[in-house]
C-alpha cells in the first residue's frame, strides 16, 4: 500500500474530529476557478508573441535580476568591497603642527625689550630675531610653538599685548597636509601607543611613557609602578585634568616580558543637555544610568567611582578584567 494511501486511510478512520478540517479543505477544493483560465490563456499567448521581441531585453534584465542568487552574492561582495575601499580611501587633512607668534619692537624701546626678557617663557624658548629694518628700526621676533605647546599661544599673546611698545602681534598657524585613510581619520582622536618594556627599568619605562604621551600633547602625567603578588609590574598612569581634548583619548599597550598591560582612557565631556541627566541624582542612580549607557551588564557598581568636586561630577569607570578606564566628566553643579 502506498504511504499516501495509508495516510489517507488512517485519516479517514479517525473519528469526526478531522471532519471539520476536511470540510474546509473540500470547500476550497470545490471552489469554481476555471472561469479565469481563458484570461490566463490569452495572457500566456500574448506573452509568447512578445517573447521574441523581448528576448534581448530579457537577457539584459536577467543580468540585473535580483532573483538570481549569483547576482545577490555579487551585490553583497560589491557592497563589501565598496565599504573596504571607502574606509581605505585616502583623505587629505590640514593639520596644525605648530603656531608661530610674531611681534615687533622698536630697537630703541629698551623698556619694552627689558620687559620682554623678563617674561619666563622667553628665557626657555628659542626665539628668532630679525635685524632691525632700516625704515622704522623695528626688530621682528618669531616664536615657534610646537604641537604640545599650542595651548600656551593665547597666554603668551596676552602677555605680549600687555607690554607697551610691542606691536604687530600675530599668530600664524603652520599647517601640514596629511593623507590618511578614512577609518584612521575617524579614529584619530584616540591615539595608540605600543611600548615594549621588556628589560626596561621603572625609570626608563616612565621616561618612555612620558615621551610618547608628550608627543601627543599630554604633559605632566603621573606615572607610578606597583608589583602584583606574582611579581608583575603594573603601571599606573594618571592624566591631569584638561590634558585630553573633548571626546578624545589614548590607548597604551605595554608589553613587559610575558605580561601585556593595556591602559585606555576616553574622556567624554558632557556639557550639553545630556549632562542634566545626572543632576540631583544619587550615586546609586548615576551608577545605574552609566551602566545602562555603556550597555555592559558586567560592570559592577563598585567599578563605577563617583567623585563630586567643585560642582563637577567625575565618573570613573574601571572595567573588570581589563586594565582600562573610561572617564566621563560632567560639569554639573551638585545641589
Amino acid at each position: 500500500m502506498k504511504q499516501s494511501d495509508f495516510y489517507r486511510k488512517q485519516k479517514a478512520n479517525e473519528p469526526s474530529e478531522n471532519d471539520r478540517l476536511d470540510h474546509l479543505f473540500d470547500k476550497l477544493k470545490n471552489e469554481k476557478t476555471d472561469d479565469t483560465f481563458p484570461g490566463v490563456e490569452k495572457w500566456l499567448r500574448n506573452i509568447n508573441s512578445q517573447k521574441s521581441f523581448n528576448h534581448s531585453l530579457n537577457k539584459e534584465r536577467k543580468f540585473f535580476n535580483m532573483r538570481s542568487p549569483k547576482i545577490k552574492l555579487a551585490y553583497a561582495f560589491l557592497l563589501l568591497a565598496i565599504i573596504v575601499a571607502a574606509c581605505n580611501y585616502p583623505v587629505t587633512q590640514q593639520e596644525t603642527v605648530a603656531d608661530v607668534i610674531k611681534w615687533s619692537v622698536n630697537k630703541n624701546n629698551t623698556e619694552a625689550i627689558q620687559k620682554l626678557q623678563s617674561l619666563e617663557w622667553t628665557k626657555k624658548a628659542i626665539i628668532g630675531v630679525s635685524k632691525p629694518e632700516a625704515a622704522n628700526n623695528n626688530i621682528e621676533y618669531k616664536l615657534v610653538l610646537l604641537k604640545d605647546e599650542l595651548g600656551n599661544a593665547q597666554k603668551y599673546m596676552d602677555q605680549l599685548k600687555g607690554i607697551s611698545g610691542v606691536t604687530d602681534i600675530s599668530l600664524v598657524p603652520l599647517n601640514e597636509k596629511i593623507t590618511r585613510p578614512v577609518y584612521s581619520v575617524a579614529l584619530n582622536e584616540i591615539f595608540k601607543v605600543d611600548i615594549n618594556a621588556s628589560n626596561m627599568s621603572d625609570q626608563d619605562l616612565k621616561t618612555e611613557i612620558e615621551t610618547q604621551l608628550a608627543q601627543n600633547g599630554i604633559k605632566d602625567v603621573q606615572i607610578s609602578f606597583d608589583r602584583s603578588s606574582d611579581g608583575k609590574r603594573i603601571s599606573k598612569i594618571e592624566i591631569p585634568e584638561g590634558s585630553l581634548k573633548d571626546n578624545s583619548g589614548f590607548d597604551i599597550t605595554i608589553k613587559d616580558g610575558n605580561n601585556v598591560q593595556r591602559t585606555a582612557e576616553v574622556r567624554k565631556f558632557r556639557k550639553d543637555g545630556e549632562a542634566d541627566r545626572y543632576k540631583n541624582k544619587t550615586d546609586d542612580e548615576i551608577r545605574k544610568m552609566v551602566s545602562e549607557d555603556m550597555g555592559d551588564k558586567n560592570i559592577r557598581p563598585e567599578d563605577i567611582e563617583i567623585t563630586r568636586k567643585d560642582g563637577k561630577i567625575m565618573i570613573n569607570v574601571k572595567k573588570q578584567g581589563i586594565e582600562s578606564e573610561d572617564k566621563i566628566e560632567s560639569e554639573i553643579e551638585v545641589k
Binding site: Q50, F64, M66
Partner: protein, 201 residues
C-alpha cells in the same frame, strides 16, 4: 514555439484550478496581490523553461515545484527589495486579475487564518497533499526531503495544529451554532439579510 505554448496550455489546463488554489492558500499570510504575483511568475517561468521539461508526464509536480520556489522567492524578495530595484518583468502585458474579485466566505476565512498560523513548510506540505493531491513520495521530491517519514510527520503535525486552531477559533465564537445555521458565508449577503431585520426594530 507556437506548438510548445499550445502544449504547455494543454498540460496546464487540468492543473490550473488546483495550482490557483495552492497559490492562494500558500499565500494565506499575505495579500491577494502576492498570490497573483506568485502565480504569474510561476506561469512565466514554467513557460520559459517548458522546453527543458523532458518528461511531460511529470508536468504537474514540475509546475508545483516552480510555484513553491516562486513563493519562497517572494518571501526573500521582501528583504532584498529594501536594497535593490525590484524586477517588474511583465509591465508590458497585464496579468488578468484572478483573486481580486473572489469573495472570501466564512469557512474560507477560517481556513486562511488557520493556515497562516502554521509554518511555511507545514503549510506547503499540507496543501500539496490536500489541494494538489500529491502523494507523500511526490511531496518528498517537491520539498527535496531525504525521507518520506519527515513529510509524514510534518503532515500529521500540520493537521494537528490546524485542527486545534479551528477548534479554538470556533469555541471562542459566541453563539456559534446559531451563526452556523443562519450564516450564508458572504458578508454582503449577510448585510442585505440583516438590514430589514435591523430596520424593523
Amino acid at each position: 514555439m507556437e506548438n510548445s505554448t499550445d502544449k504547455f496550455i494543454e498540460l496546464l489546463k487540468p492543473e490550473y484550478s488546483n495550482a490557483l488554489k495552492y497559490c492562494k492558500a500558500l499565500c494565506s499570510r499575505r495579500s491577494k496581490d502576492d498570490a497573483e504575483d506568485v502565480l504569474q511568475q510561476s506561469l512565466l517561468k514554467a513557460l520559459e523553461n517548458f522546453d527543458s521539461l523532458s518528461d511531460q508526464s511529470k508536468f504537474k509536480s514540475w509546475f508545483f515545484k516552480i510555484i513553491t520556489r516562486e513563493f519562497y522567492t517572494l518571501i526573500r524578495k521582501d528583504f532584498w527589495k529594501k536594497f535593490l530595484p525590484t524586477d517588474d518583468r511583465n509591465s508590458h502585458t497585464a496579468f488578468p486579475e484572478i483573486f481580486q474579485h473572489q469573495d472570501e466566505n466564512c469557512d474560507g476565512m477560517l481556513l486562511k487564518k488557520a493556515l497562516s498560523s502554521i509554518s511555511t513548510k507545514e503549510r506547503e506540505s499540507i496543501l500539496l497533499f490536500e489541494i494538489a493531491g500529491f502523494s507523500i513520495e511526490e511531496i518528498k521530491e517537491i520539498q527535496n526531503e531525504r525521507s518520506s517519514s519527515s513529510v509524514k510527520s510534518r503532515l500529521s503535525r500540520a493537521r494537528k495544529k490546524l485542527k486545534s486552531f479551528i477548534e479554538n477559533e470556533e469555541n471562542n465564537l459566541p453563539n456559534t451554532e446559531i451563526n452556523k445555521s443562519n450564516y450564508s458565508g458572504d458578508i454582503n449577503n449577510e448585510t442585505i439579510r440583516l438590514l430589514p431585520e435591523t430596520e424593523g426594530k
